[in-house]
Symmetry: C2
Subunit: 217 residues, 2 copies
Amino acid sequence: MGRITNRDWRAGDPLPNESVLAEEFGCARATVNRAMRDIASAGFIVRRRKGGSHVALTPVRKAVLSIPVTRMEIEKSGATWRHHLLHCRLENLPAGLCEKLKVPSRTKMLHVKSVHFADERPFVFEDRWINPAVVPQVNDTDFESESANEWLVRNAPYSHGDYLLSASIPDREECTLLAVDANTAILVAVRTTWLEERPITTVRLAYAPGHIIQLQL
Amino acid sequence: MGRITNRDWRAGDPLPNESVLAEEFGCARATVNRAMRDIASAGFIVRRRKGGSHVALTPVRKAVLSIPVTRMEIEKSGATWRHHLLHCRLENLPAGLCEKLKVPSRTKMLHVKSVHFADERPFVFEDRWINPAVVPQVNDTDFESESANEWLVRNAPYSHGDYLLSASIPDREECTLLAVDANTAILVAVRTTWLEERPITTVRLAYAPGHIIQLQL
DNA sequence: AAGTGGTCTAGACCACACC
DNA sequence: GTGTGGTCTAGACCACTTC
């Protein structure tokens, strides 16, 4: 890493192979392998069997977002968390979401809407669909006491998912629930998680104006 | 992982130690160690010396954003990339940024402003400051041909940085450059990178309306 | 065909944090 | 004190991919 940041080895340059570096640094090849694997996973070098390792041409810069439970995110800032459940009912999933979640049209899922407050100010509006076919325990759960967000984190491990961020003008419902007017910009996150090929939940999070999402490089 | 997603082992449960698992799976302890280290880095288990490994109580869900070079991001969507350099001059860094970058007030940095176009439609407005004390080669570089974004990725490795995302209403300059009116919401990313304790560059990216940033869980 | 990284083994020592 | 994970070693075999 030092030689890359010092520019002794520049973009595209080949690196010595593992055995050579092991000898140079006076350690075992496995130790070099682990170091290089870590450096590669951080995007600084590219490794190919037989082809050898090279300093990444266009380092794929990766930023990591740690997604907190909303309650903890609010409490960490020193504010008091409160959550208000607006809606919780088994309903037909809208057609657009059926397609996105790859389930047959008119599949029924649990529709949960709630608002999280920080010190009694609206923080985020959560509009969520939960698939009871994958997490049947959801039918016996009361989302008044524990938010759906938190319950799912604790009870529904996922295998993969995606997370989309965009900016938007709030619609009428969001204006009311977040107590803002329609001339502000809000950050919207849409998160969908899967257990293998089956969708667990999809949620749209509309954050109050001024919210910032921070990632680490 | 199977036992966690199957809920054989639930949130908070202790896992057998490495030696026991190695025996159970008929492999070496180092193999178990590597697997568990990977699983821990994905946030599913928590490991403590002497304390043992446990299924994470509140799995820290991590989303990863691969930050592309703007040109490649545009070209990957099939559009033609073009970039227009608006401004490129050594200037005093504004006071607010001096503080954020932890440099003395009235430090001079290279101020570069440009707009990237996708098929001749404005895509993002890039407002950047580059620290010539860390990357002196920047003085001999022509950002007309290669964008500052791309040049930095290729020539200025960083040790760490941060990346802030928020939603905003465009100011007058942004309205003009992105060809939008002031009633839309735009996504704004502010990215700062460092080489150890020294700031390399800070950039504010104002994306045209409708832009979506995608992360992988 | 040959060289590279990918992976695994069996063993060892150590730092740390819990008892 | 003691058990845990963290790390390293020296050696081995293998899969992949480029030459």
